[in-house]
């Protein structure tokens, strides 16, 4: 009799949680739709690119690209960055103590020599062994920093110390940027009455796309299920999640693969924190917190155009490591900034964003995991009512399918990158399979992340890449 009440209470608790989470998603979808609709209108406005490219008022940008053991692709990637459509920018590649020939490749290809000018280090970093610039005019905007290994955050800090301009654009060196990526990403900084501290964009999945000379030639849908599932995940996260947060001005994360920051404010906040594996999220949270404490009105921009393409893990093992790391990064950031949680002083950030990250991003997999354990327990004890269980299961399953299909709809409505008709059917098919065959796996990776963090694991975990360049047909 007593345990029945317990079971009842637990069932109702799970139920309430499910209702909260579903209504959260529904609201996110509604907000995103409004935001996408508005953005489409802005996007289709007449634009005078000529005026923009000629202006002396457009702020110059420094691109910071940390590279660790990237000898295979680094030259090709730098070449493609050199052709971005922007009147004034520099590229700073930071060789983070690579063990291969990353530095030599760059120095030889672009005829670089050591530049001995004085430099001031606003943020302490590992030792910088040298700064290189090119002797050829066509590459005069390229700088390479050679430093002792210290991780991604440390490399970016060295870049911040050694770059010229007031706006910095941090990217992964293996990312593929669209031609007008900078032009679009800089827009929020200019077109705002408040101070803009950062702006970010949507990350797209580059797996199986046809890539030549560091440019996307044709967008293709990956053959591997695990990559397709991640496409849906990215649609949901960017087209629905972040669009909605951007409308509420509650963005907490600008993806480390592609984001622009106000350098002065980033330095004032202390630069990237190399003590966490979630340095991209942590920096933005810290910058926002600082601005709020100083009571300066500010905002964070978000551009939904597909501007940056990246390769996602296709091996389950690598995916597991990545998700494990993400979970640890989220937890570390939330822990470092726990004072913001439910703190009305931080407004949307305190009352909505941080609670969202806690309940939806951190706790969701844990609750789900215990939910599954609970079902197993009921089954073992012989209390499992199959009718009830299956009815709930159907509800949750069809909700997540609907959510993915809504995300596909948003993609169709906005940018329609997957042109072939068969791609649409495959994506819809993936939406039906994903909750059953992909989701449990990432949930498990998140649980492992929790366990690892409690045990005190700090490393990034090596990320083996399959290489972005497709073999020539």
């Amino acid at each position: 009799m007593d345990y029945r009440i317990l079971i009842d209470i637990a069932s109702w608790a799970f139920l309430v949680y499910a209702v909260v989470i579903c209504s959260g998603y529904t609201f996110a979808a509604l907000f995103s739709f409004l935001e996408i609709k508005e953005y489409k209108r802005i996007y289709n406005l007449p634009s005078e690119e000529v005026a923009m490219l000629q202006s002396s008022t457009l702020p110059p940008v420094s691109i910071l690209a940390p590279a660790y053991n990237e000898e295979a692709n680094v030259v090709e990637n730098v070449r493609s960055m050199l052709t971005l459509n922007y009147p004034s920018y520099e590229i700073v590649v930071i060789n983070d103590g690579s063990k291969d020939n990353t530095l030599q490749r760059l120095v030889e290809t672009f005829s670089m020599v050591k530049d001995e000018s004085l430099r001031y280090n606003s943020i302490p970093t590992q030792e910088v062994r040298g700064v290189y610039t090119s002797t050829i005019k066509a590459y005069k905007n390229l700088t390479v920093i050679d430093k002792a290994n210290g991780g991604k955050a440390d490399a970016l800090n060295a870049g911040i110390n050694n770059c010229k301009h007031d706006l910095i654009c941090c990217i992964d060196v293996d990312c593929i940027l669209e031609n007008d990526a900078l032009l679009k990403l800089v827009k929020p900084f200019l077109n705002n009455e408040k101070t803009v501290i950062a702006s970010g964009g949507i990350i797209r999945v580059a797996n199986s796309c046809i890539i030549e000379d560091g440019r996307i030639i044709e967008v293709r849908l990956p053959d591997k299920f695990v990559a397709r599932a991640q496409i849906l995940e990215y649609f949901r996260a960017f087209l629905m999640g972040r669009m909605a947060w951007s409308r509420l001005d509650g963005l907490l994360l600008i993806s480390g693969a592609f984001g622009m920051f106000d350098k002065k404010i980033a330095i004032e906040a202390g630069g990237y924190n190399h003590k966490t594996v979630g340095e991209d999220m942590e920096l933005l949270v810290r910058m926002r917190r600082m601005m709020r404490n100083k009571k300066i009105p500010y905002t964070v921009g978000f551009i939904p155009d597909p501007l940056c393409w990246t390769e996602v893990p296709q091996q389950w093992k690598v995916l597991h490591r990545q998700r494990n790391r993400w979970t640890r990064g989220t937890m570390e950031t939330l822990w470092m900034h726990r004072k913001m949680l439910f703190n009305p002083k931080y407004k949307v950030l305190g009352m909505l964003s941080t609670p969202y990250w806690m309940f939806f991003e951190w706790l969701a997999p844990i609750i789900e995991f215990f939910g599954i354990l609970f079902i197993i327990l009921l089954y073992v004890l012989g209390f499992l009512n199959w009718t009830i269980f299956l009815s709930f299961f159907a509800l949750v399953y069809f909700f997540s399918v609907l959510y993915s299909i809504t995300a596909i709809f948003f993609e169709e409505y906005s940018f329609q990158q997957y042109k072939k008709p068969k791609y649409i059917f495959r994506l819809i098919g993936t939406a039906f399979a994903e909750p059953l065959f992909y989701h449990p796996f990432v949930m498990w990776a998140a649980i492992k992340g929790n366990i690892d963090l409690i045990r005190g694991k700090k490393t990034w975990g090596a990320m083996s890449r399959t290489g972005l360049s497709n073999p020539k047909k």
Partner: protein, 334 residues
Amino acid sequence: MEQIYENIYYNDWEWIVKLNILVSFVLILLSLILILFILYLRLFKNSRNLKKAEHYSRLSDFINNYLFDPDFDETETENFKNNFLKTNLQKKITTKEILIYNQNFKGEANDSIKKLFFSLDLDNIVFKDLKSLKWHRRTRGLYTVSSMGIKIQESLAVKLLNDKRSEVRLQALLYFIKLSQKYPLNFLYRLEEPLTIWQQVYLEDALKKYEEQVPDFSKWLTHKQQSVVIFCIKQIAVFNQYENIDQVMPFLESPEEELKRAAIRCMRKIGHEEAIDVLLTNFATESTEIKKEILKLITQIGDFNQLQTLSGLLTGNDEEMKIEYLKAEEHFLK
């Protein structure tokens, strides 16, 4: 007791199971509707793109013939208007394409393309756009009238200048500059909202293309919007208005850092050395950013003696300024 509980228990869950099944069906139904909608959207977009491409290639042949073929026959314009400008989509694409030509060409070709716009009667739809309740249509309409040099009612233009959407305000600013005969910036007096950098980029561009006398920017140095003042200080440098430099000097001592920075940069571009002495008197109390600007000013237009008055930086505590000073010194000694 137990019996009662059992009853509630089972009734309760039975109700929920029914609800679950009902909601699941609703979700499935919604998914199916969305899937159908996605497919419809796909077909719709495809057929629209096809129509667009078809119209575009015909249009571009027509315009190029019109512009560059010496044997072009005027009846072809009539022909095009009567046969290929029937739907709204066709009119929209044609307007858009003419605007692109207008943007890229100057001289004779530009005059011809403007003439074509009117011969095709495309100006008729613009006025509907201007009065539309949808902001993106107002923006588009304004852009078209200012690009094509169409005058609109003054009262309507002023209303759009203070529109609640910044996109509309920007196009209204450009309208005033492009269409004014004598006083392109007089609208600034009536501007209530601040100017964003984005708007400043476009304003500067429009002023560079302005064919008459560029206005005297000192007139708005007392404007209540700080952004307008900053913009005018910048433009004094861009258009080399030396005669206004004395009126910019007071901003070197402004309590507003943004104004001060703009003034220093203006001095640097114009090369007004007198600014350095003013700035050196208060150097110690300035922020790091301003100190850096001042050092940059000295390296570009000052002399080594002026720099040396700051050699105290070398023994100070500020590491960053020490390096900045050394860099400046390196510049003079090279």
